[in-house]
Structure formats: structure tokens, C-alpha cells
Amino acid sequence: MSELAAGFLGTVALFAGRDEGGLAEVAAMLRRRTIARGEVVWNQGDDARELLIVVDGALSASLQVPGDRVVEIGTAGPGDTVGEIGLLDGGPHTMSVRAVDATTVLALGRVELAALLAPQDAAAFGLRRRLAALLTARHRNQLARLSDSLGGEPSGPSAGDADRAFAELERCGPPDSRYVRRMATFHDLDSLALWGFLTSGSYARCQRGRTLVAEGAPSTACYLTINGAVEQVLARGGRRIRVGLAGPGKAFGYESLVDGGPSPVTAVTRERALLLVLPHDRFTQLFHGEDAVSRVFLDVIQRELVATLRQTLRPHARLAASL
């Protein structure tokens, strides 16, 4: 099974770039399972114990919404993975998963995933980056579905608005470290490396109502809210829905820096804000670095993406329930 799995794993995006030994290491951790057509793999709200890699067949993910209604969110085919959100944040599964056809999967447990992510070596850093890319792609898919539900053309602020807001940021000193350490986002992170991360960018104040990221344009920087709040919105025609709120300890504007695509949402300061600003080049250094500071940074991005994916399901549910 291990040789067969290792061969297949070479085609799975999550493990792309891993050498033969690395693939064999992963393959030895996997359990192969066959799921009958129509079988429920897990229900929304169940404890997350494993992620599944689809070998053949297909799985569908659905969201239960009020009124006993179910909304199909997406399907996963060969090479795709499902179930990583709960595995990464320790929360329950966000959606129910069912086999569309007779499906073969490889299951990777929580402990095994943690073991793959734990080392401070190239393979673990690579996996962290690919997880970030995978979760970003999933976030984009969720937002695209939301946009489709809204209909109409994007009608938010322009890239010029974001450039102006970036130019008008009022540079300032760092926040009190005792305050920053109390944020849940930074709990459990190595103190010295965290400080390295928090001093790797610059700090700036921004007035309320400024557009820092424009949907459809690349982001100038990745931001981390230290104080205040930044709302992430989709605007279509006359409709505007908030898909996230980046309060203290939350990052935004990173999607286009992770995968090179356009920003999937617009980010506007809802409150005046104090921000950690990581311009494109600094983001790239941290994202592709392989030291303790980069590890903290990748942890922060991963936590942010997982939280964002959970949060983005809420407007999905509200929209579905209102239809």
C-alpha cells in the first residue's frame, strides 16, 4: 500500500515538491478506506479526527442551514482533500461530507498531520506553505459561490482607493508587547520568534472608512490588525455583504500575496485601526523563509485562514436561509 500510496501522493497538491523519502514517510501514515456511494463520511459538528485525500470517486460537502435545509458547498475529486479545518484548529467539522460515488480515500489522522508539520525542516515548511495555498484556494471558492449568490458585477472601491489609503497610512511605533501577548492569536507561539515576527514589518494608524484592499486587484501588503476592526466585504450592484471582520490579532490582505491572484474581497476599516503592515517583499521573505520567525508567520496565516473559512460559512448560511 505504501508504494502505491507514495506514487499517488506525488500527484496530490498538498504534498507537491516532497521528495521520494518524504512521500514514503507520508504514505506510511495513511490508511486506505473505501466509502460506499451515498454513505455519510461525517456530519457537520462531528469531532474532526482525520483529513481525507480522495484517490478515486468523489465526495460532496454540504452545509446544514436553519429550516432543515442543506446547501451543497462543493465536491472533492481525485487528489483533493477534505476535513483539514477541524484537524488544524481542533474544532468540529464545518460541513457534512458524503460519498457521491463509490470512493476510495486515504485518511491522515490528527496526530500524524501534527507530526508532519512539527519539524523545522524544508519538508514541514513546504507543507505549511501548501496548506496555506490550499486553504486560500478554498476561501476563494467559498467567496466565488457567495458572489454568484449575490449576482451582478463587482461594485466596490477601486485599486486606486487602496493605493491612496496605503500612501496615507500614518506610520507609528509598535504597540505595548504586554497587550499583544494577551491576544489569542499569539498564544502558544514561541515568544522570541513572535517578537521577531511582530518587529518584521512597520506599524501604522489608519482612519475609519479607508479601503486598504480592493477586490479584483492585487494587495499592496498583508495587514495584521492590532487595534480596531477592518471589515471584509463583497459588493455586487446595490448589495453589499460582510464576509469577515478582522479585529485584534486578525490578518487580512494576504490572499493575493499567497497565490498571486487578485484580492477576493475588499477590506475597509470599520473602526480607526492600528495595523502591522507587511509589504509584498517582506511578506514574500517571511512566507518563503525557513526560520523560527517564518514559522510563527506561517502559523499566524494558517490560523487566520482556518478561522476565515469558518467565518465565511456564516454569510453562506444567512444567504441560504433567506432564499
Binding site: Q44, G45, P66, A229, L245, P248, E271, A321
Partner: protein
């Protein structure tokens, strides 16, 4: 952090809301699942309107500083009363010798003769710096009814003061406007005094026929140094709702049945069930309005920008 609960719709036994579900309001007092930095042990209060009761415009009233989980009187009452509207609250205060645990500080607030009640989940930081500036915005006949020491009771008096008739029965639109106007006054007074720290104001306001709720915070994300409430307030104070036909036990859990138009709504700081799938999170900076009409429940969510 306190917990609020409001219900408007088909007659519903109070015990379903307070006791029966696996994350009922009473459970949230001693085992909160969200905002769980301290327990809510400073008392319980409720107002419940039953059209079949004597003087149906006057709600059943109950409040006690005892723990609701051990309050047999409340359990007996909850099993007997099936209101069409309810506002309930469990109070949480910091473990501090400055906290005043007293009946006069229990929500929902309800001045004698008034038709509107209010419960609050949140707190106005630095309230002492603005308390007496509020006097000029509160009608004298209401100011003299303030009995307790909370910021919430002042918010109540301020909301009532924005109504054409503070002792009348307001339409839903007027009540919503009064709540927004009260928040604007608070905003102005805060700005004048340079108060710019996070102050959550999740409100449930009701006349028994309609309901207005807010999920809102002034200056969210800004905190004073060495703040003892920081961990509580770093996340935006939560508020959820379930809207549909009627709330009841079905299969292995409690759920709001689907119905269009809806006939009932529950608004609560936390979902009343551990399984959240039947609940929707109220967006931050929002106001909800609900009104019982002959055609069903009119329900609306809107952005609240004050």
C-alpha cells in the same frame, strides 16, 4: 459577561428557553461556551408577555440574585408560563469588590408605567466619566426612576427618552429609531470626553409586541492598558438568532422549524443548543427588528452605523 435572550412568536413554554436545551440560558450562567472568561452568577431576570393572562400588556416579571439553576420558584414558573414574547437575562460581573450584586441591577429594566423593557449584554468602559452628562439627555421623570448602579439602566432611560411617549406603546420603527438615537448620543458624549475604548452594547428591547436587538460595539478593538476585561472583549461580543415556524424538540434535539413567512424568532447571546446548525450569527454592527403581525413575523436585519 452577561447573557441575553429574547423571544417573539408562537406561545412557547419558558422552560424550553431557560432549562430544556443543552445550552439553555440557565446553563450559560454556569457553563458558558462563548465569552467564557467568567461565569454569570450575579442574578437572573425576565419579562414575559402572555396574551391569555390578565392585563396582557403587562408582562410577568421575575428577578432574583440567586442562581437560576437552583431557583425552584423560577423552575415552577417557567413550566407554567407560555408567552408570545420574552426578554431574559443572566447577569455576569467581574470578580471584583467594586461589583454591586443587587436586585436593582438586574435586567431587563422596566420602569413603572413604561411599556418597553431593555436588557443589555456588554458594558460602557469609563462610564463614570459620562454618567452625569447623560442627565441632560434623559427626561427628568425617567431619571428619577433610576434605582441601580449600572450603565445599562442609564441606556434604558436614554432609549425611553427618545420615544415620543416614553410610557406609550411604540411602533417597531419608532423603537428602532429610539435605540439608534440613544447610541448616537452615547457616541457623541464619548467623543466629547475622549472616551475611545471598546464598549459592547448588545441590547434586547421590547414592548411585548415587537423586538429590537443590536449587536454593536463602540470603538471595537481598542482597550485601556492593563485591562481586566481584555480577554472577554477581544472577540466581538456574540449574538445569534433562530427564525422560523416554532421552536420545539424534534428527533434528538431542539430546533426551529422552517416556515415562510416565519412566525417565531429567538435571539440569544449563544445558541441554545450545542449544535449551531439551526442558528445564524447576527452580523457585527447590526440591528434586528421583529414584529408580530396577522400575516406572521416581520423580521429584518440591517447595518447599524451610528
Amino acid at each position: 459577561m452577561c447573557r441575553i435572550l429574547a423571544y417573539l412568536g408562537e406561545p412557547l413554554p419558558v422552560q424550553h428557553l431557560l432549562y430544556d436545551t443543552d445550552n439553555s440560558l440557565v446553563r450559560q450562567s454556569y457553563r458558558p461556551r462563548m465569552m467564557n472568561t467568567f461565569l454569570n452568577l450575579a442574578g437572573f431576570g425576565m419579562k414575559a408577555w402572555d396574551p391569555a393572562s390578565l392585563r396582557p400588556d403587562d408582562p410577568f416579571s421575575y428577578r432574583a440574585t440567586t442562581l437560576p439553576s437552583f431557583d425552584r420558584n423560577l423552575r415552577f414558573l417557567a413550566a407554567k408560563v407560555a408567552p408570545t414574547c420574552l426578554v431574559a437575562h443572566v447577569r455576569g460581573v467581574t470578580y471584583s469588590d467594586e461589583a454591586v450584586v443587587a436586585e436593582t441591577n438586574l435586567h431587563p429594566f422596566h420602569f413603572p408605567g413604561a411599556r418597553v423593557v431593555l436588557a443589555h449584554n456588554g458594558h460602557l468602559r469609563e462610564f463614570r466619566r459620562m454618567r452625569y452628562a447623560l442627565v441632560e439627555h434623559v427626561r427628568p421623570e425617567l431619571a428619577q426612576r433610576i434605582e441601580g448602579t449600572t450603565d445599562s439602566e442609564w441606556i434604558y432611560a436614554l432609549v425611553l427618552s427618545q420615544l415620543d411617549d416614553p410610557f406609550g406603546l411604540p411602533e417597531t420603527g419608532e423603537l428602532a429609531d429610539a435605540v439608534a438615537a440613544a447610541l448616537r448620543i452615547l457616541r457623541t458624549l464619548r467623543v466629547e470626553r475622549g472616551i475611545a475604548t471598546s464598549s459592547p452594547v448588545n441590547l434586547c428591547v421590547s414592548s411585548g409586541r415587537n423586538l429590537v436587538a443590536t449587536r454593536f460595539s463602540f470603538d471595537y478593538g481598542w482597550y485601556p492598558p492593563e485591562d481586566e476585561m481584555l480577554e472577554t472583549d477581544l472577540p466581538y461580543v456574540s449574538l445569534w438568532y433562530a427564525v422560523g415556524g416554532e421552536y420545539g424538540e424534534a428527533g434528538d434535539g431542539w430546533t426551529m422549524t422552517g416556515d415562510d413567512p416565519p412566525r417565531s424568532v429567538i435571539i440569544a447571546s449563544e445558541p441554545l443548543t450545542v449544535d449551531h446548525s439551526g442558528w445564524l450569527e447576527v452580523p457585527e454592527y447590526s440591528m434586528l427588528t421583529a414584529e408580530l403581525t396577522a400575516a406572521g413575523l416581520e423580521f429584518e436585519t440591517r447595518d447599524l452605523d451610528v
